[in-house]
Amino acid sequence: MLIKIAKPSDLRESDVTPESVYLSRRRFMGGVIGVGAGLALAGRAQAATGPDYADVPAGNPPGWFGPKLENAKWGAVVPADREVDKNTPFDDATHYNNFYEFGTGKGDPARRADRLETQPWSVVIDGEVNNGGRFALEDIARPSQLEERIYRLRCVEAWSMVIPWLGIPLSDVIRRAEPTAKARYVRFETLVRPEQMPGQDSSFALIDWPYVEGLRLDEAMHPLALLGLGMYGRELPNQNGAPFRLIVPWKYGFKSIKSIVRISLVEEQPVNSWQAIAPDEYGFFANVNPEVDHPRWSQATERRLPNSLFSPNIIDTRMFNGYADEVGSLYAGMDLRKQY
């Protein structure tokens, strides 16, 4: 049983204003002015039936996924400015991926990931927990409502996208595991299966498989931290980390580990894979920060994809990827230049 005594300064989940609230207020005001009466109606219709992903090809979801999708909470978190943060086209989000288990080229995952078998899938939850063990993915997902959260995704390579994820709060899963008092960090591990993941077969790979990521426990308990099961109104395509991945929208994309098979509550700060390869380039926290450059490139701006030849679509990168109001307090008093 985790007894967490909240400090008066701590933010509660209920204190966080979802971006969709801003959005619905905008919609309401649009309706009042009379310009957007139809828009307001359209907004309501969307909330009832789910957004229109008619162009997105159907996948091959496991049997338990359909009922969860029917009860999903659509648009639970939506970017405030949908002009800037438009959804990235599905085709781009699924054909431009960093998933080195399938190769280092951006197109490698889309080309090679179809060999990955994701059904059945089980996840080990272990370490400093009272309720650990090996769980079928559907049992991990069952107690939580599926939520659609449209997040900005900022890659450490200075490009970004906007992805409508479907997932469950990471905090739900951690709470159910009942962390002990010793638990201070969460460590995640990706599947190792070289016969289906050809990148793990490369003898030139610098990553020591499995891919490992980690969060501090309070980061992991933050309501924005999501365990993804789907995107664009369907289950995750293999190249996007099927069937179970992490999404931490205020951190660089490499923190959002894919195809998770193990979640461990631990005492010591884990060493994440990129930190192990190049500790001067990639830290443990990896918070999106326009003021702290990567040694080999600037992080002040990002290329919002898709772009075209003569308009690189460069926009300013925002502190904590635009989620500073929600997560800034997690890092109060920390020197983000040193703890990058």
Binding site: H95, F204, S298, N307, F310, P312, I314
Partner: protein, 211 residues
Amino acid sequence: MATSRRVLTLWRVAVFIAALAPLVYWGWQVAINAAGPEPGRYLLLNIGQGILWMLLLTLSLTPLSKLTRWKGFTLIRRQLGLWTLAYAVAHLLCYALFILGLDLSRLGSEIVRRPYIIVGMLALLGLIAMGVTSNQWSMRRLGRRWKTLHRIVYPVLGLGLLHFLWVVRADLGQWSAYAAVGACLMILRIPPIARQLPKIRQRRQVKRAAA
């Protein structure tokens, strides 16, 4: 081995078309929106690899002609060298137009943060020096010094490989392949080894005559 003039002309045209084809193909992929969400980078990276291909092919011609004595290999050396330069210029243009967006104010900070840009520029300067002196007139004027000057190609290969190595993030496979081919081509130029190449051909001829 004597090859007719017509065949040699066809050979040169074929090489020209083959060297042009990748550029046309990549341009076509961008035109039909098949190059992914970042077409500028797609061109930049593909053409970058193209430079290494052209450079390694150019460097393989001397060992090949020593080995076979076929005139065709010597005949396309200048052409492939100039293709290497053309690819390198295209690579730079992609960077300036599509990545930098011609915003030269960003160039300063880019160079500080990405020192491999300097390495790449040095390699390009080497290619330009060889390109502008690749004509008959320069060869006559420079005489012996022409050969010395064109030995720049070796540091250019080293700089090119270093430039590429700096960009690699997590898998050295592809880079190692280019580096290995480059190293082989360099080894074939070490005088005692280079002297063996014509002998291999002669021995083969002797054998064939005996049979």
